[in-house]
Amino acid sequence: MIKSLKLLLAMVAGLSMQPAAAALNVLACEPEWGALATELAGDKANVYVATNALQDPHRIEARPSLIARARNADLVVCTGAELEVGWLPLLQTQSGNARIQAGQPGYFEAASYVNKLEVPKTVDRAQGDIHPGGNPHIHLNPHNVEKVAKALAGRMAQLDAKEAAFYQSRAKAFLDRWQQATARWEKEGAPLKGMKVVVHHKNFSYLNDWLGLQEVGQLEPKPGLPPTTASLGDLLARLARDPAKAILRAAYNDPQASEWLSSRAKIPAVLLPFTVGGSDKAKDLFSLYDDTLARLLAVQR
């Protein structure tokens, strides 16, 4: 027992001697926030992204590598609004890192800086996997990204005060480019207004709201439940009366259901990258929007 304790202490001492990293260690829960953190901090931050575009952010496990990353994080950048409720609380309690606990400056929740859509009036699991705080998939409206960018730059400046001016100047440069790009996207996306779409999961609500797409149905019978033959059959009958232009799904959604419906309803199934890395072209936040718009415009014509 004493021996093992000695060994343990020796290990602690040995590993604590590692040189302190100068850069801000950022753990981003989703790729979009990882990309944003990189835009704002450049080489002043080591950004690790907990999930990739092919993973469903609702269904992530608090796997060992994430606990290790959470242990070293100075800043955890997540969506919040209960999107990560199945894994993030474990990273907070298991990592032994006081800086990233709720309420600390090292814990950043993007969704708390934007107005959320679809805030349920009643909360009951009989309605499926609903989020009491509203729809958490906020990043597909560039105005939301702008708000989050401003708040995140402020947070980085707060945590790494010596480099505050650096973060603010990068934020300004990013926001200038972002606003120009937003204006361009809004111009390009104007023809999409009123286009009827079916979605796999309600994860495009902010995109639809921004571009004026009209969501006429979901493949999931209830949020978070896999599509069933019965629910798809109902949807098919509805689409026969009131056709939509496209069936949208995120890169991480199982393609089976949208392809089934697409072949029967003769409506194109469109894969949208959803987040950075969701398609070959979506390499950063700008190209994510470029590619999303291009894919939507391709079916609108």
Partner: protein
């Protein structure tokens, strides 16, 4: 009205005397009076009307003010979506409902693991036919910026509640340290820390049943440290009263049980996650008795062990999902190896039964026994998982000084410790409509009992209500 008549009367009186002089003049005067009267009436009516209007306006104004206040309140309520009340600090409360339908070829009440000292835990199969499992009630919250509190009570189907876990955990220690205290599931091994409702089979592996009495839950303290590396390196130590099997209640000051553990884990590409570890548990049981044995004549015997018990556990788990997206398909491989060494003294007491030796017989006792399991669970389509588990315990070597030294009782008087290595094969299929509900079918061929294979069939349901916390890896 009264005022108007008075004025009219006064006017009439004032003009009445000269009016008598001439009729024409009188008529003229009357006309004037009438005109004046009408004029006054009009003016008074106008005044009254203005008064009424003013009063009405004033009333409305009052109402407007009131409704203004009301809408301001509504706005305030809307701004803070959660009303500020004591209720908003309520901890996360959740409940797990469990139950089984069991069909077994052997009597579950006579369950034993031959070749191994009984652990005294609730390790037998569930009761036959319909049976309620433990209903778990969990409450958890951050206590303040420094501590988190968790309490889990198990409501037993036969009545009564047991404290499954009740501990505090630090949130704000520096350098990756966490301290936990109270009653908690030990971090040794892999499955030990997982709550029953998250298990991939209805029951726990034989090695857990034989070496830890099902699951090691202890009253004590745990310190854990996570290394500042990208690979997860977690080391920790626990001290406890050691009153749970393999320890026993000692009624002594100091530490009755201690353990150390180390876990290493990480990713192997985007699709694979792994964790492996090694743990060591040491306890000092005092008169750890088991009364379920019988001697060669079938009469009851109480055996008790005093000495030192050491347990090594090596564990490993690997999870795979295409691109790390476990929604449609995923696979989990898990295995653990246990090795237990016990040295001390065994007391054989048949005084309440045959009483052949004129009192308890004592002798040296040591054992080196081991066990392992390996299981794989595959989700082959959304909602459906199938799994297989193989269990084995190795009898190893048991040196019973009472038998070997010829102190009286023979090997036949230690029926539970006769050489035997139990095995079990288990198949499982479960359906998970959501992450909050699970229906499981399980078939097992359990050879825990020497010469009596128990063929088991279980149907089990597990439902989670409320703010259900995240599950451990």
């Amino acid at each position: 009205m009264f005022k108007r008549n008075l004025i009219a009367a006064a006017v009439a009186l004032a003009f009445s005397a000269p009016a008598l002089a001439q009729d024409a003049e009188l008529a003229k005067i009357r006309d004037e009076i009438r005109q004046m009267k009408e004029g006054y009436e009009r003016r008074i009516d106008a005044l009254e009307k203005r008064l009424a209007e003013a009063e009405a306006k004033a009333g409305k104004a009052d109402q407007v003010e009131k409704s203004g206040a009301a809408s301001a309140e509504i706005a305030a309520a809307a701004a803070s979506s959660r009303p500020a009340s004591e209720n908003s600090f309520n901890p996360a409360v959740s409940m797990v409902l469990q139950g089984t339908y069991a069909s077994t070829s052997q009597d579950p009440n006579r369950y034993r693991i031959n070749g191994f000292v009984p652990s005294g835990g609730e390790v037998g199969p569930p009761k036959r036919s319909f049976g309620l499992g433990e209903t778990e009630l969990a409450i958890a919250a951050n206590i303040d910026p420094y501590f988190r509190g968790v309490a889990i009570a198990a409501l037993a189907p036969e009545g009564g509640a047991e404290v499954e876990e009740a501990y505090f955990q630090t949130l704000a220690l520096p350098s990756g340290f966490t301290v936990k205290g109270g009653r908690f599931l030990s971090s040794i091994g892999y499955l030990n820390e997982q709550h029953q409702h998250t298990w991939d089979f209805q029951d726990t592996p034989l090695a857990y049943k034989a070496f830890l009495g099902g699951q090691l839950r202890q009253d004590g303290l745990q310190a854990k440290w996570i290394a500042p590396t990208d690979l997860l390196i977690e080391v920790g130590a626990e001290v406890s009263s050691g009153d749970q099997f393999p320890g026993s209640d000692r009624n002594k000051n100091g530490i009755g049980g201690s353990s150390v553990f180390a876990h290493v884990g990480g990713d192997a590409g985007a699709s694979t996650e792994w964790r492996t570890g090694i743990s060591y548990l040491r306890t000092s049981p005092q008169n750890r008795a088991y009364a379920s044995d019988v001697d060669a004549l079938g009469a009851p015997v109480v055996n008790s062990f005093t000495g030192r018990s050491r347990l090594w556990v090596a564990d490993g788990v690997l999870k795979w999902a295409p691109n790390g997206n476990s929604t449609s398909t995923n696979f989990k491989l898990q295995g653990e190896y246990f090795r237990r060494m016990e040295d001390g003294q065994l007391t054989y007491d048949d005084t309440s039964g045959s009483n052949l030796f004129g009192g308890p017989v004592m002798g040296a006792f040591d054992s080196r026994q081991s066990g392992w399991y390996l299981q794989g669970v595959y989700q082959f389509m959304p909602r459906w998982r199938a799994g297989y588990r193989y269990d084995r315990l190795n009898f190893g070597t048991v040196n019973n000084g009472i038998v070997q030294g010829g102190l009286g009782p023979t090997a036949a008087d230690f029926s539970l410790l006769s050489p035997y290595s139990p095995t079990r094969d288990t198949l499982m299929l479960d359906w998970n409509p959501t992450e909050f509900s699970r229906l499981r079918f399980q078939l097992a061929s359990d050879k825990s009992r020497q010469g009596a294979t128990d063929n088991q069939f279980f149907v089990q349901y597990i439902y989670s209500l409320g703010a259900h916390g995240a599950h451990k890896f």
